[in-house]
Structures are given as C-alpha cells and as structure tokens.
C-alpha cells in the first residue's frame, strides 16, 4: 500500500519512504509514524492533497506512490 491508494477521507500511517524522496517532505511534517488523510484530488487524480500533522500538503501521484503506508482506515 502506498499514498496513491488512499481514497478521499481515508486515513493511514506513513511508513519509511523510498530512497531519494525529497527531504522537504519530512520538513513539511510528513514523517514516518504520522497519521495522514487524503483530502481531495485534482482532475485525473493528480496531484493529490493530504493532511498530515495539521498541514495540508499536495504532491503528484508519482511521489505518492513512493511513500508506503499501513492499511487504510476510515471512510
């Protein structure tokens, strides 16, 4: 499972991202162990906007695919 598999409103826990993923992601608050929720998506489901640690961060699908997550919960 990775971030791109989440449905809108679903939550999961972020796991250790793949090698080479931007450090800015960490600095913006998207860290392993944190709960993340998919809020909404742009046309063609790309990019996607998530909420993590109270911040809304959007990223492209290609990056979302490189961030593994636990089994999603919630609606």
């Amino acid at each position: 499972m990775n971030l791109s598999n989440l449905r809108i409103g679903q939550k999961a826990i972020v796991l250790e991202p793949e090698e080479g993923v931007s450090v800015k992601l960490f600095e913006m608050g998207c860290l392993p162990g944190e709960e993340i929720e998919l809020l909404f998506v742009a046309p063609f489901r790309d990019p996607m906007c998530f909420r993590v640690q109270g911040t809304q961060i959007s990223m492209r699908r290609s990056l979302a695919k490189r961030i593994p997550i636990t089994r999603p919960h919630g609606s």
């Binding site: 931007s22 960490f26 608050g29 790309d46 640690q53 959007s58």
Partner: protein, 672 residues
C-alpha cells in the same frame, strides 16, 4: 541586551502565517524595497519604534519550511541569519507562527533558536485558535523554549503592544540546543566551528556546501539523510511540547476550509469557477479601467489647454504642453490598470486561492515542461513581467524556473493594455457579436495569444533543454494554506507599493523620453533651437526625429507603418507604454491645438487613400507586433539578473522581436 542605536530584526516563519500582516502592522508606511546583498533579490524592510527614541529595522524574510534551503528565496533566509554577506548580524529574530498550525511552525522556530540568536515567538491568528477551541499555555511553552511567546491578533492589532518590549528584552535561549547533530564525524564538525558559535550554525552551513558532501558521506549517511534525521528529531521535540502545553477539542475542529475546497477544487466545478473567475477579472480590468483612462486623458488635456492659455507662448510653454504633458498623461493613464491588476493578484494570494490554482493546473502544465507552480508567474505576468519573474524564486526545480523566466514576457502585461486599448479603439468597430462586445473579444483574444505563445515556447525550450542536460526533477511539493479573508490593509499595501514603484521607476523614463522626442520632433539640423521663437514651426519631416524615422521606415514599411509609428515602436523598446505618449507627441507637434490622444489619432488621414489613417490591417499588425515583441528594458535586466545570464535575455530579445516582425508582416499582407 545593551541598548544599541539601531537593532536589526528579522522576521522568520513559514509562508501563510500572517507574517506580512504583522510586518505591515509593525512598520506602517515606513517600508522600503531594496535588494539582498550578494543576490539581486528584492526584499522589504521597514522601521519600527521599539521605545521612545529607539528605532529598529525590521527585515521581512521570505517564508520558509526549514532553514535548510530548497530554493533560491529560502537560501536568502539562511544567508541573512548566518550573516554570509556581512551586512550585519541579525540582533533579534521575530519568529512568526500560525496558532492553528503550531507544529510545523515550531519546527522552523526551533531551528532559529538553535542558532543562538535572541528571539521572540509571535503566535498569530488568536481568533482562529479560539474558534477551534485551541488553548495554549504560552507561558509554559516560553519556559521550555527559553524565549518570550506572545499570542496576538495581527488583524485587529490585539496584543501587538507587547511585541516591542519583548524585542528589547530578548536574549539568546539559555537552553541546550534542541537538536544534537548525530550520524556524522562530530570532531570534523567541531573543527569547522568558527569561534564560539553554536554548533547548529556550523551544521547548517556545512550541510549545504557541496564541497563537504564526500566527507559527510564517509559517516555512512548523506546530507539529505542527515537533514531527514534532524526533521524527525525536531518534530519529536515539538510534539512533546504541544502534548504538554496545547489543549484542543477536536470535535470543534471542523474546518471551513475543507468544505470550501470540496467545491473549489472539485474536478468539474473547480475548473468552472477558475475559468469563470479569470474571465471576470479580465473583463473587469478592461471595463473598469476604460472609464478612469478616458477621464485621465481628458483631464490632462484640459489641464494642458489651460496651461497653454495662461502661459505666454514660446519654447517652454510648447515643451510643457506638447512634450512633458503627453508623457505624464501616458504614465497616469496606466495607473488604474496596474493598480487593479495588482489588487486582484493580492486577493488571489491573500485568500489562499492561488495555491489551489497551482494544484488544479499542475496536470495541464506538465506537457509543456512546467508544473502548476508556473501558473503563478503566468497570472502575475498579466500585471507585469518583473514581479512575475521574481515570483519564480520559490521554485525548487532550476530547469522549470529557467523556462518560466524565458516565456513569461509573452504574457500580456498591463503595459500592453494602453497600446491595445488605443489601437482597438481606433480600428475595431464598437459592436456586439452574439451579445459579446467585439472590442472586449479582441482583447480577450490577445490575452489568449499571449498565454498560447508562452506555453508553446516553453514546450519547445523544454525539449531543447532536455537534450542538453539530464537533471533529476525535484519532487513537486506544495502547501495548501487554509482559506482566509484577505486583509484589506495587505492588499492596499501591495497595490500602493507596486503602483508607486511603477510611477517612480517607469514614469521617470517615460517622461524623459517624451521630452527628448518633443525636442527631436520640434527641431532639426537646419532649424536650430531658438528660445525666443514665438512658436515652434519646423516641418516635422525636417526635424531630427523625422530624418531618423525616414531612415528606418523602409524596414517597417512591409508591416504597414509610416515613419511616425516606426519611431513610436523604436521608442517602445525601452518600455511598451511609451507608445501612447510618443504617438501623442509625434502627431500633435505639428498642430497648434491640443486635443485628447484618441481624437488626435482618429483624425489622421492617409494621404494615399484619403481614408482614416489607422486601418484594420495596420491595426491588427500593430496589435500582433506588441503581443510578441520583447519591448521592455527593465524586464531584460531582470531576466539577466535572475537567470544569471545575459545570453538568455539577449536571445529572448532577438527571437521574440523577430517573431513579432514576421507575424505582424504576415497579418498585414493577409488582411490588405
């Protein structure tokens, strides 16, 4: 801290934390725009009164997510705090944090504290915190941080009076650093330490230097991994603080913003809203500024007429009424548009909607080698290419930034509007086509052309650039701030700053050129300046400008222009908006009477055909020439500075102007 003559204070915080609202509150109108040392990047600084007789300079640094820089404007923050360019140490930092998003704000602030710079933390959005049921024990947080923590409402000014005394009292945090560098040769790091500086300063400086990368890797972890470790360690600390000092009632945390987003970024409705909004803005710009433009033109004309009537005739009166006044009119006519455009852009940014536009457009910009982030310079470019090019500084991707700088001058900037408005008014009939005003439609078409040219150029350049160098594209990451009501004060300040800087900078040039043109049009080699002369009566063909114009006319003839228009085009290579004033000067010099610019031009007759001089083919050809030609010295200079290469600026100048020439020629030939 000792009372110094003037403290240097820097404001540091994440974007969208109410930093500029706070800055405007603290400095009022005492602001100035200057460049950062070392880089030609604009920054705003201002003066604030700390205590009676004690002024301090506040520098508004760009918003950052971390002190480790990811883009050009973030690098400026690190350089300022580390005093890389030796412009003076920052004495106190005002950390700005959004009370509804404390976690990520405290992350950045803990980095600042570890530098050992005395600091005060100002938490904004007190009202939003109350709404959400967030209660912060700020005294206890301050105790843990080792600095004063204030909660204010920057919009109403509530709690602001405590900031100045807190700045005077600020001292370096007495606590041990919140972050301990690990996973690296600490002895190596200690050897790099300068004097008794905090180790975090050394760490920050070393990690960003490519020269150290090999040495850092010897420890088994690269600089990026070390930065990530730092982020993890710091967030752990921040979460401990908030766990103890912040009480929240999640059930009240129903976000207005998320509900609004369900509509505004909806795949279908979101696009409808976006394009509807852009359409309304452009229509409002055209119709809203038409009235003031005509009013200014007429007001200045009657002013000229009364000056002409009151002053004795002769050299100076003629210079004022036919040289100076048309130039000033050309500048003033332009003010309503530029003010309105900057107002709209300020509203989009202040409300948080601009980020949604970036989000929605990202997918569509990719085929052109751009990302959604390029939408910001493209929208700002409709006001002026200069702020648009400056707005590319927050792009992490150097290749995209280069592309955006290269193509932004194609966007229809407000300097083109007076030219378009004048020519459309002369050659396009005032009639409706399926209920839409034809003139408005032509203007909309010109805007569309600008965007299309910019995107097409980006696609071509991207292909070329990719064949040259292979670079890894940095990940697209964008914070989506919450929607907020725009602060009238911030919008007003933005309009005032930009418009007054236009009037001062561009105005000087335009007025000077108008007077020079008047002189060159009023005198000639065989007609020396005679100050005692009653009236100026050199046949314009024999004036300096007439001779120069006839010299270049053969080049411009294929496009349908006479030598007067050729001169106007040449002079607009300094700045497009010069066109209107130049036309007014050139066509009015021969006349004794003074009429409005539009009336003067509309009454010109083509000696060959006997019809109105400004014909449809010539008008369209002129419109297209102005749409594509690179006619703005200031933009060229900014392109060269920001891209650090004159090659790009000069190539842009030559290619765009050649393209404009060819298109204008083709249109003229096809239509006549």
């Amino acid at each position: 801290m000792e009372a110094k003559q003037s403290l240097r204070i820097a404001m540091v915080g994440r974007p969208n934390t109410g930093k500029s609202t706070l800055f405007n509150q603290l400095t009022g109108m005492n602001q100035k725009v200057s460049n950062y040392p070392g880089v030609t990047m604009e920054r705003t600084s201002g003066l604030t009164k700390l205590a009676p007789g004690q002024l301090a300079e506040i520098i508004d640094l760009p918003g950052i997510y971390s002190l480790h820089p990811s883009s050009a404007d973030e690098a400026v923050v690190m350089d300022s705090l580390l005093n890389v360019h030796e412009e003076g140490e920052v004495d106190v930092v005002i950390g700005v944090a959004d009370g509804t998003n404390l976690k990520t704000c405290l992350f950045v602030f803990s980095q600042v504290l570890d530098l050992g710079i005395p600091a005060v933390l100002v938490i904004t959005m007190a009202d939003d915190m109350a709404h959400r049921g967030l209660v912060l024990d700020h005294a206890a947080l301050g105790e843990s941080l080792g600095c004063e923590v204030l909660i204010v409402n920057a919009r109403t000014g509530e709690g602001m009076e405590a900031i100045q005394p807190a700045i005077i009292r600020a001292k370096a945090s007495p606590h041990a650093p919140f972050f301990q560098p690990g996973g690296i040769h600490l002895q190596w790091l200690a050897a790099l330490q300068e004097g008794d500086e905090y180790i975090y300063k050394t760490w920050l400086r070393s990690l960003s230097q490519p020269a150290h990368e090999a040495k850092i890797r010897e420890s088994g972890r690269g600089p990026k991994r070390l930065r990530a470790d730092e982020a993890i360690q710091r967030y752990r600390q921040v979460n401990r603080w908030l766990g103890s000092f912040l009480t929240s009632y999640p059930e009240q945390d129903r976000r207005f913003s998320t509900k609004v987003d369900r509509l505004l970024v909806h795949p279908l409705w979101g696009s409808v809203v976006l394009f509807g909004l852009l359409f309304v803005i452009f229509q409002a710009l055209f119709y809203g500024s038409e009235g003031p433009m005509v009013a200014i033109d007429e007001m200045m004309t009657s002013l000229s007429q009364s000056i002409n009537a009151k002053l004795p005739g002769g050299f100076f009166t003629h210079m004022i009424t036919h040289g100076l006044m048309p130039g000033i009119t050309g500048v003033l006519m332009f003010v309503p548009q530029i003010a309105m455009l900057f107002g709209f852009i300020a509203l989009l940014e202040e409300s948080g909607y601009m980020s949604r536009v970036v989000f929605m457009m990202d997918r569509f910009m990719r085929p052109f080698g751009l990302s959604g982030k390029s939408v910001v310079p493209m929208i700002s470019g409709t006001a002026c290419a200069i702020p648009a090019i400056l707005s590319t500084r927050n792009m992490e991707d150097g290749r995209e930034r280069w592309l955006a700088i290269a193509v932004t001058p194609f966007i229809t900037c407000s300097a083109r509007i007076p030219v378009y408005a004048l020519i459309i008014g002369l050659v396009i009939p005032d009639m409706a086509l399926m209920g839409i005003n034809l003139r408005g439609l032509v203007l909309f078409g010109l805007y569309f052309l600008g965007f299309a040219a910019a995107l097409a150029a980006a696609a071509l350049l991207n292909r070329w650039k990719r064949s040259q160098v292979k670079v890894k594209v940095p990940d697209f990451l964008l914070e989506m701030p919450e929607y907020r009501w725009p602060q009238p004060r911030n919008v007003g300040m933005m309009i005032w700053r930009q418009t007054s800087s236009f009037v001062k900078e561009a105005g000087k040039i335009i007025v000077a050129i108008s007077v020079i043109l008047w002189f060159a049009a009023s005198f000639g080699p065989d007609h020396a300046a005679d100050f005692t002369q009653d009236r100026v009566s050199v046949p314009i063909e024999e004036s300096y400008i007439g001779i120069a114009g006839q010299f270049i006319e053969p080049v411009m003839r294929p496009l349908g222009y006479d030598w007067k228009i050729s001169v106007a085009i040449l002079s607009s290579f300094v700045a497009r908006e010069v066109f209107v004033g130049t036309m007014a000067t050139l066509y009015s010099v021969g006349d004794e009477g003074i009429e409005s610019i539009h009336a003067t031009l509309a009454s010109q007759i083509n000696p060959e055909t006997g019809e109105a001089f400004f014909s449809l083919p010539m008008g369209i050809s002129l419109l297209l020439f102005y749409a594509f030609a690179m006619q703005c010295m200031s933009t060229l200079v900014v392109v060269a500075r920001e891209s650090r290469s004159w090659t790009l600026a000069l190539t842009q100048f030559v290619l765009m102007s050649l393209f404009a020439y060819v298109v204008a020629w083709a249109a003229f030939v096809a239509l006549s």
